[in-house]
Every structure is written in structure tokens, then in C-alpha cells.
């Protein structure tokens, strides 16, 4: 195992940021660490990257103990923190050369490594511009490149796409896949469940300083139950009335979404459920604006597992 944490504890003042944090990550995979704000994700990453001292528990990263062998750990990890921690005044190439030399490369090696990474992360054109002129996505990619200088055994990515637009997010995702393809284990924290679903082979769901669920995205989805049918109701109709009528006809309570003006039914199996809903709509004489059959999203998995209010999930 490339990363094993056992009962990590860390207290900040009155806040128990890590409360018996356990994690096992296999080599060469992208592992998602999912949780709302304040769940302890960043604290976990900082502890594993030897940036903070823990109050209790043990952890080994790339085979070395984070407490007694911190410098060995540091030589084998890359850390990409929440706010893109690259030098904004310098250019992209200057940043990578600097980090390369800080990792112990000679000036010549650091320069050639910087060139390779600029190419790998699509930053050749902007290489000599000041980073302050970069877009959010470019900055993140440079940040990841800087964490990837020695091809680390473990790369920590702390919420790498927070605040990025969808296109930049896709570019960062491509970079993360690139890193994993090179054999590096990636521990990715995120509040975006679709991000973990897209990237991670395995997901640990975290809340209140500990992992509350740990499995593949598919199994986690299964835990939340069957498929969903979502019916979008025409604006003129009363959501409450339709919910009551359809709920009675199908025999499953409707979950209303006031904002989308839609009703969701958690049906057991997709096709049978869909026809039941259609039949009920027909019998009630309701013409929906939209009708969708879908697998549960990770948001729903997450909400069930952490029992957090909906607002904090997105």
C-alpha cells in the first residue's frame, strides 16, 4: 500500500479536525477524498504531507512514517494545495526550474525537466509569461506540474478544481489522469462528487474528521438504492398537488425539488419504474415538461452517508 493512515487525530483549539482518520490507498490509483467544507480533508492532506504535526495515530506515505521519516516522505511526494501555490511574479518556466532545483536537481536537469513538464501540461506557449497573467486552469496545471517534478510516488491534490470554469476543470482532469498514467498515486480531495466519480477508482467519504464510507463509486452508488425517475412539472401546475396524486398512483413518495419544479421517485428497477411513472402520469392527465431516468448521483450517495443538509453538498 502506498499510503496508510491509522487513527490520525488533530485538534485545532476546540475543533477536532481529524478524529480517528483511517485511509488505505493502493499504489498507482486516483483515490478520491470526498467531504463538505470543514470535514477535515485539508487537515488530512497537510498531516500526510508532513506539513503539520498530528496529536495521535500513525501514517506511512510511500513506505515512510510521516512523523519520524518526514524528509524521506517529502522526497517522494508532491503537494498541490488549495490556493495555487506557485510564484505569481515569476514565469511558468522559472517556477518549474526553481522547484526542480529545490528538489535537488542540478540547474541543467531542472531546466530540461521544466521543458518536459511545460510540454506535458500544455503550457509551452505561456512558459515565459508571468503566472499572474495565467487563467485559473493554467495556474492549476502549473501547480500540478510543480508537484510532479520528481515523478512523486504520491501526489496530493487538495481541491484542484475549486473555482474553475467547466473547460478549465476538464483540462485539470486531463492533467490528473496524465499524472496517474505515469504511475503516481493520487490522493484527490474534492467537494465535487462528479469530480470524484469521473477521476477516482475508489472514494473515501469524509465527515467530522473521519472516513464514513470507503468504496468504489459504483458500490457507493448501489448503497443508496435503485434508479431515479425525475419528472419536471409544467410551471402552471401545483407541485404539491401533483406530488400527492402521482405519489398515490405509483405507491412511492415523491421528493420535490422546488427550484427545478420537479419530482423525483426512487424506483426499484429502472424500466419497470419508468413505465409505472408514465402510467400514473397518463391516468392523472398530466403532461410533464421533462422525464428522466437516471442512476443515483454521488451527491445523493454523499447526502445519505453524511446526512448533511443539501446546501453544504455543492
Amino acid at each position: 500500500m502506498n499510503l496508510v493512515a491509522d487513527g490520525l487525530r488533530k485538534k485545532y483549539g476546540d475543533v477536532q479536525a481529524l478524529d480517528g482518520f483511517d485511509l488505505t490507498v493502493a499504489p498507482g490509483v486516483i483515490h478520491g477524498l470526498l467531504g463538505p467544507n470543514g470535514a477535515g480533508k485539508t487537515t488530512a492532506v497537510k498531516a500526510l504531507a508532513t506539513l503539520i504535526d498530528v496529536d495521535g495515530g500513525t501514517a506511512r506515505v510511500a513506505g515512510f512514517d510521516i512523523r519520524n521519516q518526514a524528509s524521506q516522505v517529502r522526497r517522494r511526494i508532491g503537494l498541490v494545495g488549495q490556493n495555487a501555490a506557485v510564484d505569481e511574479i515569476l514565469g511558468g518556466r522559472q517556477n518549474l526550474v526553481m522547484f526542480g532545483r529545490l528538489y535537488g536537481l542540478s540547474a541543467v536537469d531542472a531546466r530540461s525537466r521544466a521543458d518536459r513538464l511545460l510540454d506535458m501540461f500544455g503550457l509551452v506557449e505561456a512558459a515565459d509569461r508571468a503566472v499572474s497573467t495565467y487563467s485559473g486552469g493554467m495556474r492549476r496545471r502549473l501547480d500540478i506540474a510543480a508537484g510532479f517534478i520528481l515523478t512523486p510516488a504520491v501526489l496530493f491534490l487538495d481541491e484542484p478544481t475549486t473555482g474553475l470554469d467547466p473547460r478549465a476543470r476538464n483540462e485539470v482532469w486531463a492533467s490528473v489522469r496524465e499524472v496517474a498514467a505515469a504511475g503516481t498515486t493520487v490522493l484527490l480531495t474534492t467537494q465535487y462528487l462528479d469530480e470524484a466519480d469521473q477521476l477516482a477508482a475508489r472514494i473515501s467519504v469524509m465527515n467530522h474528521g473521519r472516513v464514513v464510507a470507503d468504496d468504489t463509486p459504483a458500490v457507493l452508488k448501489r448503497q443508496i438504492g435503485g434508479d431515479r425517475v425525475t419528472v419536471t412539472i409544467a410551471a402552471g401546475e401545483s407541485l404539491d398537488q401533483v406530488a400527492e396524486r402521482l405519489g398515490a398512483a405509483i405507491g412511492i413518495p415523491a421528493v420535490p425539488d422546488l427550484e427545478a419544479h420537479s419530482l423525483t421517485f426512487e424506483v426499484g428497477s429502472g424500466v419497470a419504474g419508468l413505465s409505472a411513472v408514465v402510467r400514473a402520469l397518463d391516468e392523472s392527465g398530466i403532461t410533464p415538461d421533462d422525464l428522466v431516468l437516471r442512476r443515483p448521483t454521488l451527491d445523493e450517495v454523499f447526502l445519505t452517508l453524511t446526512a448533511a443538509p443539501k446546501e453544504t453538498a455543492r
Binding site: 488533530k10 485545532y12 497537510k46 504531507a49 508532513t50 506539513l51 503539520i52 504535526d53 524528509s71 517529502r74 522526497r75 511526494i77 503537494l79 494545495g81 488549495q82 490556493n83 495555487a84 501555490a85 506557485v86 510564484d87 505569481e88 511574479i89 515569476l90 514565469g91 522559472q94 526553481m98 522547484f99 532545483r101 529545490l102 528538489y103 535537488g104 508571468a130 510543480a146
Partner: protein, 259 residues
């Protein structure tokens, strides 16, 4: 990787900042030159030096010491900005010695201050200031100024690491003024009310300013008291004392980033 080598890489980083944004050090320099001209020509006519002597010749060494003290601002601001932006955390996750980050700051700021001293000395020569002592004393004067800057560096590193908010650097920017003026850098302490003069005489900045004057062979504006007898020793002792206090405090502040 040794802390010294990493410190050198980080020194280069900080110097590269000035190459990319040259107006930062240039404005710093222009500010010092402006102060020199304002006090030398605008206010200077109204200021007399106790014990006699030309005011410009009296003022220049004081301005050199003052500009070394103002350096505390740029050190604190740079340290705080790095800590705030997360780049200090990035450095801390690297396999480099824990002294590297401070060493990088020390290297760059000392280089900058050396250049600043040389420019101000050249400016002084242009407006009529002269060294009337021997070269060895003059070199010692410059070294004492740099030693004072070195002590200011550790205060700046401590403040920058301990109080990372913008407010702290603002406080430093404001506080350097009364501390700078309450000294013998610009006027002799002997022209002040007795109690104020006593405080000014014990200001570490005064020791460096007076020792520099003495070593350059410039008028000191001092006729009695500790600064008359032992300015050079005080200019050696004060910075060493300040460094002995703030270097360990800086190291502690850096360790405290581990929460």
C-alpha cells in the same frame, strides 16, 4: 539538500522578482533619495547641528541608517505575502532544510540593501557629503549599517511569519516612522526635550547612525552621553542583541506554521 543551497535558490527567486518587477526596488530607492533631499535641502536650512558641522554631512549617515531600518517593512511584507499565498507551505513540503526559506529572504534583502547603500552613498557624494576618515573606518561603517539591516531582517521575518494578515505589515509601515524619527538619524538628540532625547539616544537606530558618522569622520551632533563614548560598540551590540532575540523567535514562528 542543504539549507544553504536551497537558500541560494530562494535568494535567486527573490532577486528574480525584482528583475520582473523592477519598480519595487526602484521606488524603494527613490523614496530614500527623496527623503534625503527633503531633509537635506527643504528642512535642512532650519536645523543646526550641536557641536557644529554641515547638516548635509550630518544627515547622510543618518539617512543610511534610516533606510536600513525601513528595510524591515519590505522583509515583513514579503514574508507575510508568501505565507498568505500558500507558497511557504509549498516550500515546507519540499525536502529542504527548515532554515532555507529564511536564508533566501536574508540573501535577497541583504543584496538589495547593499545596492541601496551604494546608491545613497553615491547620491551623498553628489550633494557634497564627504568621507573625511580613513578607508578602513569607512568600510567598517558600511559593515555596521549592514549588520543593523541584518538585525532588522529577523524582526521582519518574525513579524511576517507571526502576523500574516495585511494589518500587521501595515502596522510595521506606520510604526517605523515614529521609531525612525525618535532617534538621532535626522536631528541630534541634544536638540530634543531632555526625556525625549534620552529615549532617542537609546534607540538602536541612533547607535548605528552615530557610529556611522563617527567612522566616516562626519559631525555627530553629540557632545556627551553614551553615544559620545561608545557609539561603535553600541552599533555592534544592539543589532547582535536584536538578532539574538528575533532569530530564535523567527525559527519558532516558522515551526509554529506546523500548527
Amino acid at each position: 539538500m542543504t539549507a544553504v543551497r536551497a537558500g541560494w535558490v530562494l535568494t535567486q527567486r527573490n532577486l528574480a522578482h525584482w528583475a520582473r518587477q523592477p519598480w519595487t526596488p526602484i521606488f524603494g530607492l527613490m523614496f530614500s533619495i527623496m527623503l534625503l533631499l527633503v531633509f537635506g535641502f527643504l528642512f535642512g536650512g532650519a536645523i543646526s547641528v550641536p557641536g557644529g558641522g554641515d547638516y548635509i554631512t550630518f544627515l547622510l549617515p543618518g539617512m543610511l541608517a534610516l533606510s536600513m531600518m525601513f528595510g524591515v517593512e519590505s522583509t515583513a511584507t514579503a514574508m507575510a505575502a508568501d505565507a498568505r499565498k500558500g507558497i511557504t507551505d509549498r516550500f515546507r513540503s519540499l525536502p529542504i532544510g527548515s532554515a532555507s526559506v529564511a536564508l533566501g529572504r536574508v540573501g535577497a534583502d541583504m543584496a538589495n540593501s547593499t545596492v541601496e547603500l551604494l546608491v545613497l552613498l553615491a547620491g551623498g557624494l553628489l550633494i557634497g557629503w564627504r568621507i573625511t576618515s580613513d578607508p578602513a573606518s569607512a568600510v567598517l561603517a558600511v559593515l555596521l549599517l549592514l549588520l543593523f539591516r541584518f538585525a532588522m531582517l529577523w524582526i521582519g521575518i518574525f513579524v511576517g511569519l507571526s502576523f500574516r494578515g495585511e494589518g500587521a505589515t501595515m502596522a510595521v509601515q506606520v510604526l517605523v516612522w515614529p521609531i525612525g524619527f525618535l532617534s538621532t538619524a535626522i536631528v541630534s538628540a541634544e536638540t530634543m526635550p531632555g526625556w525625549l532625547g534620552a529615549i532617542a539616544a537609546w534607540n538602536p537606530l541612533s547607535a548605528t547612525a552615530s557610529a556611522t558618522r563617527e567612522l566616516f569622520g562626519n559631525p555627530t551632533g553629540i557632545t556627551e552621553g553614551p553615544l559620545a563614548d561608545a557609539a561603535v560598540w553600541l552599533a555592534l551590540g544592539w543589532p547582535l542583541l536584536l538578532t539574538a532575540i528575533f532569530l530564535p523567535l523567527s525559527a519558532r514562528a516558522y515551526r509554529r506554521l506546523r500548527g
